[in-house]
Amino acid sequence: MTDRIMVVEDLKKTFKVGFARKVVEAVRGVSFVVNQGEIFGFLGPNGAGKTTTMKMLMDLIRPSGGRIELFGSPPGSIEARKRIGYLPEQPYFYDYLKPGELVDFFGQLYGVPRAVRRKRVDELLTLVGLDHARDRTLRKFSKGMLQRAGLAQALIGDPELVILDEPLSGLDPIGRKELKDIIVALKQRGKTVFFSSHILADIELLCDHLAIVHKGLLKYFGATSEFVLQGQKEVEIIASNVSASVKATVVARALAVEDFGEKMKLLATRADAAAIVELLVKGGAQVDVVAPRSESLEEIFVRTAQEEGA
């Protein structure tokens, strides 16, 4: 049985904003579970409630309702937080420190012994590619470099669970590739990674499970593979030498048709696809391609986010 290291149940957060104390529901009953050793993606457009949820996980914001359990403890528990590394969105750090000093400082808060700390700081700065910038203070760092320093400080306590809020933002393509490699390496070492991202292709490739939130509501929670399958509802058929009579028959059953003269492309439901192919073959047409048409994760995400109730 897999260990559930993060349990979020019916999580809610309301804020009172402005002079009139208008109530804003930032998170409206979000529930999901994260298992040990997996990479979990947390998706949602801007203002969906992702960062608010992640801050509640870190006890930076107190929930208005619901329950959070991290390693069987509430999020404010010191014991739980010793096992977690967190990278906030757009990390801001003490800009008068050098990266090594920053990571060392946070290592002290984790209670990492000095000798271990020294060794780990060196390893982490190398891992995140900041070897060349050891002698610079953070105020001279670019956004991408700060993100790398942020990742190093999140890992100094050798955490079992790494929570990363938009870790890929601000990184160049090489940086994103390196970060993805680090995330995969963490998983291979038995760590659990929970991260939010707008870059959906990364989620599809990296994550075992994902949760999608939109306007504070959970729109999907489950395996990434199942989510992608949801988009495979249609079949694309490309045929050539289709006679006019057959064309008229198949067009009536297809969802969409693109006629290029000699060739035609049909989009059909999975249920109708076989019958259309049969009609084409019987009518003497040549069937060139029959392929399930997958919506990209991005298309599914936009559709799911906009579905009723959004």
């Binding site: 804020f15 608010t52 801050k55 870190m58 006890d59 930076l60 914001i61 107190r62 010191i78 014991e79 937080r81 010793k82 977690i84 967190y86 906030p88 757009q90 990390p91 801001y92 750090f93 003490y94 800009d95 008068y96 420190l97 000093e101 400082f105 946070f106 002290q108 808060l109 984790y110 209670g111 942020g150 400080q153 306590g157």
Partner: protein, 265 residues
């Protein structure tokens, strides 16, 4: 308990490092040093028997003045800057209790104040020696009491910093410092048979509230005793330190309680 102290010490040392690398802080320190050393020049302008008095008065005044300016300017930013710069997210997501953060920040502030008073007191000591003023034990007591006073001012600044903006916190803290310096006079006015509280008795409750709530900071000023060469007993110093500690504990506890309830949006 030990690990908690260790975490607070780490936060305190980081706070100290922040100040030590801050140009404004270094500028203030240099300015205060220059002013203390300038008392040598000022003392040249007065008649010989007043020269000792000038260097004694000026030195102690500038240690206290620079300390108050540093307490207010750094103290009001102590918590606010963490929120403004969002560094609080990284820090409080670590295995740190919120009260440890406030206590650690205050501890760092206290380390800064010790450094300020020690450095400025050494400069004052040099000036005294250059003017052939013998270093007496009461000078150490005076510096110790200045540090105790600054500890209260810094605690007030930290309290306001935990929920208010730096400008408002600065105004409130400086206002409390000014009022604190007047508490003794207000007490005397309340006991007097004539004066403000007799001509306007409706102000008496306000006067009593001020003396009951605000710290009596004049307790920490023994400049007059130094001048008159009156002995200041250790018992008095001990009581003043205890008084200061009580206020610091109350103020920092309130700051921690306020901070405990906050959402860091």
């Amino acid at each position: 308990m030990k690990t908690s102290l260790y975490r607070m010490l780490a936060i305190g040392l980081n706070t100290f490092k922040e100040a030590a690398r801050n140009r404004a802080f270094i500028g203030l320190m240099v300015g205060a040093l220059v002013l203390i050393l300038a008392s040598l020049i000022v003392s040249e302008l007065v008649v010989f028997d007043q020269q000792r008095r000038v260097v004694q008065d000026f030195g102690l005044f500038f240690i206290s003045f620079a300390g108050v300016v540093i307490s207010v300017t750094i103290g009001v930013l102590l918590v606010f800057k963490e929120l403004e710069r969002k560094t609080i997210y990284s820090l409080l997501s670590k295995p740190v209790y919120r009260h440890e953060f406030i206590l650690g920040r205050y501890l760092g502030m206290f380390l800064i104040l010790i450094t300020v008073t020690v450095v400025l007191a050494l400069a004052w000591g040099c000036v005294l020696l250059l003017r052939d003023v013998p270093i007496r034990l009461v000078f150490f007591k005076a510096v110790l009491l200045v540090l105790a006073e600054l500890s209260i001012v810094a605690a007030v600044a930290v309290l306001f910093s935990s929920f208010s903006t730096p400008i408002l916190s600065g105004i409130f803290t400086f206002g409390i410092y000014i009022l604190g310096r007047q508490v003794l006079y207000i007490e005397e006015m309340l006991l007097a048979r004539k004066g403000l509280f007799v001509s306007a008795p409706q102000l008496r409750p306000m006067g009593k509230a001020v003396t009951a709530i605000f710290p009596d900071l004049s307790m920490f000023d023994i400049g007059k005793e130094i001048l008159l060469e009156v002995e200041v007993p250790w018992l008095y110093v001990g009581q003043a330190l205890g008084y200061s500690l009580s206020y610091v504990v109350i103020l920092v506890t309130i700051a921690a309680l306020v901070f405990q309830r906050r959402d860091f949006v």
